[in-house]
Amino acid sequence: MQFLQIHEPGETPLPHEQERGLAVGIDLGTTNSVVAIARQGKTEVIRDAAGSALVPSVVAYGEDGVVRVGEAARRELEYQPETVVSSIKRLMGRGAEDVKTLGGTLPYELGPPAEGGMVRLKIGERVVSPVEVSADILRTLKDRTEIALGQNVDRAVITVPAYFDDAARTATRDAARLAGLEVLRLVNEPTAAALAYGLDSGSEGLYAIYDLGGGTFDFSLLRLEKGVFQVLATGGDAALGGDDFDHAIAERFFKERGGTVSADDTKQMLMVAREAKETLSEQPTWSARIAIGDVQSSHTLDRATLESVIAPWLDRTLTICRGVLEDAGVEPAALGGIVLVGGSTRTLLVRRKVAEFFGREPLADINPDEVVAVGAALQAEALTAGSDTLLLDVTPLSLGLETMGGLVEKIIDRNTPIPVAKAQEFTTYQDGQTAMAIHVVQGEREMVDQCRSLGRFELHGIPPMVAGAARIRVSFAVDADGLLTVSAQEKTTGVEAGIAVKPSYGLSEDEMAEMLRASIDNAREDMDRRLLAEARVEARRAVNAVSSALVADGDLLNAVERGAIDQAVAAVEKAISGNDRDAIGASVEVLEQATQQFAERRMDRGIRAALAGRHVDQLR
């Protein structure tokens, strides 16, 4: 196995990194967001002047046109609740129809949906999409880091719940783009937590990550071994979290006080409910006298009551844990430990129930609010500066196609390691059929209407044949970010159709371009800088290739030929040091032409050597 040694692990030193800004790790949470950075394996969570790392995921769109994010936005809840948006993560990648099924009183007023059906909120005179709200949060995190470190930040690893579907992942990516951040990778939250935890503790073996955030629940089973973090199975619920506790408590309080309830009342009562919940992690009882709207009321809550209110949700999380363990064929006793992640695991009943279920105390010695961002920062460093650790993740949900009778044909099963590509052949079911509708769905159920629809497209131009004669190959590819691309081809004629599955509720390219224009003045500049950086990477690749070839086979050239190539190389190097993208591209093209004959001679030599090698083998 000689090829194992050719390229040493970790040997991806990246020269000229200083041309780019910093790469950060971002935990874009339902309730709070956190940003962190890693340098030489040392992580630093970015904090405000008061030492707090948590930026509330709250945005206020003031009537004065000012956008406030974080604490400043949360303070507005008291004065102008109608301008404030919170828990936006729950709406990422959702359509207006989905939102109706989310249940509960949403503390938003919905506006007209976007072209693609994506839900939008009405805030006073403004209409904003969840992507824009998330972009405002991301922009604040970016600014905060730039001010704290005095350096430009232009790339990020952003975490998403493992159970986020394709639509929500795409929406997150779009939000980053709007905020002027290049997404190096979307990493699943439990995997990021495991990375931070594993590197910190040097643990090996099987670990379970129980991640209960504000709006999402994830449970992942990982194997940690010598720097490899291999996800074995994952499960969860993208609409289950501490928010549900708050809603249940708020509902209880509204019942106690009576009267009508407006959307703004709900926002304020949710704040009270959260405060009650958090207090009860420290103290056995909580009570307060509050004034919401025109109604004054007093409420008390004790820990036992809180626990009976939230128990049903915790039982649901444990059912998911059981399913994941069964899926992987792992007994709880085989686990090296259970790591608690997410602010909602501070609730005492969560700890008690998890301990009871797994028959051991969970590990909670790491800060559950910050560990995900720290893991993301470590991954950002690994991606830009190289690292010995490796994350191997899986698809959280099965991906498939609608077939006859509304049934789902699964193409990629859940818990398949990514990246992955799979294809399946289908055929026509009517004589002379010339088009085929392809409906891509995600989920575990057998019926299409019980799965999530990711997108539809049509393959046209199938030559008329008898039913069953056409061979239509549909290919699914999921990249390392968990994003899906689907394409279809009729094999007997080669007719092709493809889409990067733009989720039913996503932004169109035009909408995206429009938002980019409207939202940041320097978007164009950002884009130019990025393209220039890419052109330089490509040019350096070409110079490196030619230099290596000259070292290996330089004797194939006479002095004149060598001089011409050296000159072309020098021209590329000169272009790289300038800022003209087109000049760089042109110089690389010239270099490629200048080395064409050299390449041919090298191939001839290689073929002769291979033939000679075979001849020697045969003699033995």
């Binding site: 398949t416 290739a545 390449a599």
Partner: protein, 211 residues
């Protein structure tokens, strides 16, 4: 595959020089090369054999992913990123096919020219196997407590191990027919075990929600 004698060299997309077709990196400029059509064993540098050391499989898979995973190419050129993705896809495909004994048996039969009929639930010609499986399935349907199902699952699990050993012995003896027959049996046993686990999970969940 040891890299030598694998036929005429391909041309490196980056430096245009010769590359041995089995190598994932160009020996001259070190650029990552697109995955070549190799069988799953060769891709992971393992001997073509059913009796496979899982720890060795993991070791090879991790070592190759360390070099080829897209995370290693995040700041490289678009072309290198795309190639590394196809390399990682091929590695994952090979790993998934070899990791699971049933999948490995089916794959090995396939490359040895025997179609193990992966969806052949309807074409079992072996009446003894059919009877055996029907009896087990009935027993599972009748079991109504988690502990009764657990006992059946344990029994199925031990049959699975026996069947895997029988497949290994058949392959070792070069008995492809025997390996094929036993693979069909393993397919049933694995399915039964899955059903038992699913049924137990359902029952446990029902009980805990009723409590």
């Amino acid at each position: 595959m040891t890299g030598s004698g694998a036929g005429a060299p391909a041309s490196c997309w980056s430096c245009a020089g010769p590359v041995d077709a089995a190598l994932p990196f160009c020996p001259t400029c070190r650029a990552v090369q697109p995955p070549r059509p190799l069988d799953h064993f060769a891709r992971l540098g393992l001997p073509v054999d059913f009796a496979l050391n899982i720890a060795e499989l993991d070791r090879r898979y991790f070592a190759l992913q360390r070099q080829l995973h897209p995370d290693r190419f995040a700041t490289k050129t678009a072309r290198e990123r795309a190639i590394s993705q196809s390399q990682a896809v091929s590695l994952n495909e090979a790993y998934e096919a070899l990791k699971d004994p049933l999948e490995r048996a089916i794959y090995l039969l396939k490359i040895k020219g025997v179609d193990a009929n992966p969806d052949g639930c309807h074409t079992v010609k072996d009446p003894t196997l059919l009877m055996e499986q029907m009896e087990r399935r009935e027993a599972l349907m009748e079991a109504s407590t988690p502990s009764a199902i657990e006992a059946l699952a344990r029994e199925a699990a031990s049959h699975v191990s026996e069947s895997e050993a029988a497949i290994a012995a058949a392959f070792a003896a070069g008995d492809l027919d025997g390996a094929g027959r036993e693979t069909t049996r393993l397919k049933y046993l694995v399915k039964l075990l899955e059903e038992a686990r699913a049924r137990k999970a359902r029952l446990t969940a029902e009980r805990s929600s009723a409590a």
